[in-house]
Each structure stands twice: as structure tokens, then as C-alpha cells.
């Protein structure tokens, strides 16, 4: 899938990946890959700028935890983040229904 297309929706995808609970960067990339059947195969390092941006915007909060003697940054949704994810879900639903409607009408040969 085109990287530009994914990048445009990366915030929503990351928020959705974090919604199940506190998680770290590598787990988020694995979730994105797994649930998209490998379609969301972006350079993994580009996830971190998105995480920082979302944290900066108040949608995520993060903290260090110790794992096997190493420190790991884990992220979780804030209340604002949950509200933002719900809003993005609604917007995405409206958008996909609209696009599907147009595509279906063209398939049926109706005037667009």
C-alpha cells in the first residue's frame, strides 16, 4: 500500500493500536502489520515521530518501565486520545461509506 496513504491515517492507526492498553513501539508496529495482513509495512522508525506528535498533542501519555534490565517506553491513550480516536472512527466511517457509494454507482453504470 502506498506509504503516503498510510501516513495520512497513521495517527488514527496508532491510536487504535494503543487502545487495548499500555504498549511499546515494537508491539505497535507488530499490531499494525498483523491486523493489516502485512499491508501496513512502513519503515518502523517513522512510528516514533508519530508517537511523539500524538503525545505532544495530549492524545497519548508515556512512561519508562524496566524490562530485563533495560528500560522501555510504554504508551497509553489519554481521555483526549480516546475521544480523538472515537471522532476519527466516525469520520473514517462516513468517508468510506461515501467513497463506497460513489464507486458502487460507477460499477452499476448510474450517473455519478
Amino acid at each position: 500500500m502506498a506509504h503516503e496513504l498510510i501516513r495520512g491515517h497513521l495517527d488514527m492507526l496508532v491510536l487504535a493500536a494503543v487502545q487495548s492498553g499500555a504498549t511499546h513501539g515494537y508491539a505497535i508496529t507488530e499490531q499494525l502489520r498483523l491486523h493489516s495482513n502485512g499491508a501496513f509495512d512502513v519503515p518502523e522508525g517513522t512510528l516514533y515521530p508519530a508517537l511523539y506528535r500524538l503525545e505532544d498533542a495530549g492524545f497519548l501519555r508515556s512512561s519508562w518501565v524496566a524490562v530485563d534490565g533495560r528500560r522501555r517506553r510504554v504508551y497509553q491513550l489519554t481521555r483526549r486520545g480516546k475521544a480523538a480516536l472515537a471522532r476519527k472512527r466516525r469520520e473514517w466511517g462516513s468517508f468510506t461509506r461515501a467513497v463506497s457509494g460513489v464507486l458502487a454507482s460507477r460499477t452499476r453504470g448510474e450517473p455519478a
Partner: protein, 272 residues
């Protein structure tokens, strides 16, 4: 291998004025997990590390993306303040430069000019947040100008004059040298630093500091322009992220293509 990658990432992050510790720690954790996962799939340690690094992406792209995503300098209040002070300093530089140099106002405007140039230098360090690298960059033109001064002195002894067009070429040479050093050290705003340092050296060559009045009497036009464009470039490269860098890279590529074309034409005319 992963350590080498992390070192490059840390260097690029520092050069871009980012807090590298968090990004590097997270990248280290990510890469180790990814490499372990590849090893569990049956890859050798070496192959696993290679694949983990390849999947993570180019360090420079990640750093530039981080910098742009964080709004560059705006994340840091100090940098935002430095930008504001730098704008005031640039305006002060021009006010002092174009102001009439009457006897009673001369000293005041001289002080304004010196303060403006010093402030522009200080704000550059704050905006780029890489003091040690800028120090290294400054050392290069100082060495170059010393060599040039000695050469000029030697030329003077044999009856040659170094001035006029040569003065312009000296500034161009310093600018190119500084830009090259900045590029090698991966310092952000290379073109801006080059122009800024050339401007300061231009003022020194103009005799601007003995007394400082040379700035105000029209002789300092070129250095003042260089200072203004240089500082503006730095402010832009910090505030608009990768745009300025991309434009500079595009210009460099254009010049390189042009030079290669000339070289090929010259080479085709040579007998084999």
C-alpha cells in the same frame, strides 16, 4: 551492527538539535526485539540485525521526520525565544547600518551593530543547539582565513595587491568551506552558518572592528547582507524542518550535474 546504527542515529539527532537520548533508547529497544524475533524465525544473528535495521529505516529520515513532527524549534520555548530575539537583532543590524552616522549618534549605532551581530551568533547556537559542532565549524574558516592572511601578506611583499574582487572571492571561499564542513558534520543549516561566518569575516576584513564604523558607512553592505541571509536561512531551516535542506540538496545536485556535464564535454575533447 545495531550499536553502529544507534550511534549514527544519535549523531543525526544531536545535529538536528533533538534530545537524542529518548529516541535512541526507544530505537535500541525496538531493534533488539525485532532482531530477536528474526532470530526466532531461523535467521542468523547477523542477518537478523540486518533485517531489523532495514525495517527500521534510514536514521536521517527518522530524525528529520521527528524534527518536523515536533514542530522543530517550537517545541522548545528557548528556541522560540531565540528566534524572536534573532529577528530583533537582524532589524537592529539594518537600523544601525542605514542610520546616518552623525558625530553624536555614531557610537550608539556602532554599539547597536556589535550587539546585533553578537546576538545573531548567540541565537544561532541556541537555534541549532549544537555548540561543539559549531565550534568545530568556526575553527575551519579561522584556519583558512589565517592562511589567506599570511598569503596576502606574502603577496604584498612581492608587490601584489589582494583586495577588490579577491575580497569577494575570499568570502565565497570561506562560505563554501564552512558549508562543506557543516555538511560533513551533519550540522543543520549548513548554508546559513556558511553565510553567517562569511559575513563576520567580511566585517573583519573590512576593518569593521577598528573602529566598528565601517559597518555604517556603506562598506559593510555585502557582509551585512550575508549576515541577514545566513541568519534567515538558519531560522528557516530550523522552523520549516526539511524544506530548506531539500532545496539546498536540490541545488547541490543541480550544480553537481552541471559540473559533471562540463567535465564530460572537456574529457570528450581530449585525445585518448
Amino acid at each position: 551492527m545495531i550499536d553502529d546504527y544507534l550511534e549514527t542515529l544519535a549523531r543525526d539527532a544531536r545535529a538536528s538539535g533533538l534530545e537524542s537520548e529518548r529516541l535512541v533508547d526507544e530505537a535500541a529497544d525496538h531493534l533488539r526485539q525485532a532482531a530477536s524475533a528474526f532470530e526466532a524465525m531461523g535467521y542468523t544473528r547477523h542477518e537478523a540485525c540486518m533485517r531489523a535495521i532495514a525495517d527500521f529505516g534510514d536514521p536521517r529520515t527518522i530524525v528529520m521526520s521527528t524534527s518536523t513532527n515536533l514542530g522543530g524549534f517550537m517545541r522548545s520555548k528557548i528556541r522560540a525565544l531565540a528566534l524572536a530575539i534573532g529577528v530583533v537583532a537582524t532589524v537592529t543590524l539594518w537600523v544601525g547600518h542605514v542610520a546616518p552616522s552623525q558625530e553624536n549618534t555614531h557610537t550608539l549605532f556602532e554599539l547597536m551593530l556589535v550587539a546585533a551581530v553578537a546576538t545573531m551568533g548567540a541565537t544561532t547556537v541556541l537555534l541549532l543547539a549544537s555548540i561543539h559542532q559549531i565550534a568545530a565549524v568556526i575553527a575551519a574558516p579561522v584556519a583558512a582565513i589565517s592562511v589567506w592572511a599570511i598569503a596576502a601578506e606574502a603577496a604584498g611583499e612581492v608587490g601584489l595587491r589582494v583586495g577588490g574582487v579577491n575580497y569577494i572571492w575570499a568570502l565565497v571561499g570561506v562560505a563554501v568551506l564552512v558549508i562543506a564542513v557543516c555538511h560533513l558534520l551533519r550540522v543543520r543549516g549548513a548554508v546559513g552558518i556558511g553565510l553567517l561566518i562569511s559575513g563576520v569575516i567580511g566585517l573583519v576584513l573590512n576593518g569593521a572592528w577598528e573602529p566598528t564604523g565601517a559597518l555604517g558607512d556603506g562598506q559593510g553592505n555585502i557582509p551585512v547582507l550575508l549576515l541577514t541571509i545566513g541568519w534567515g536561512w538558519i531560522a528557516l531551516s530550523v522552523s520549516v524542518g526539511s524544506w530548506a535542506h531539500q532545496q539546498a540538496a536540490r541545488l547541490c545536485a543541480l550544480i553537481a550535474t552541471w559540473l559533471i556535464g562540463i567535465a564530460r564535454r572537456l574529457a570528450s575533447g581530449l585525445p585518448l
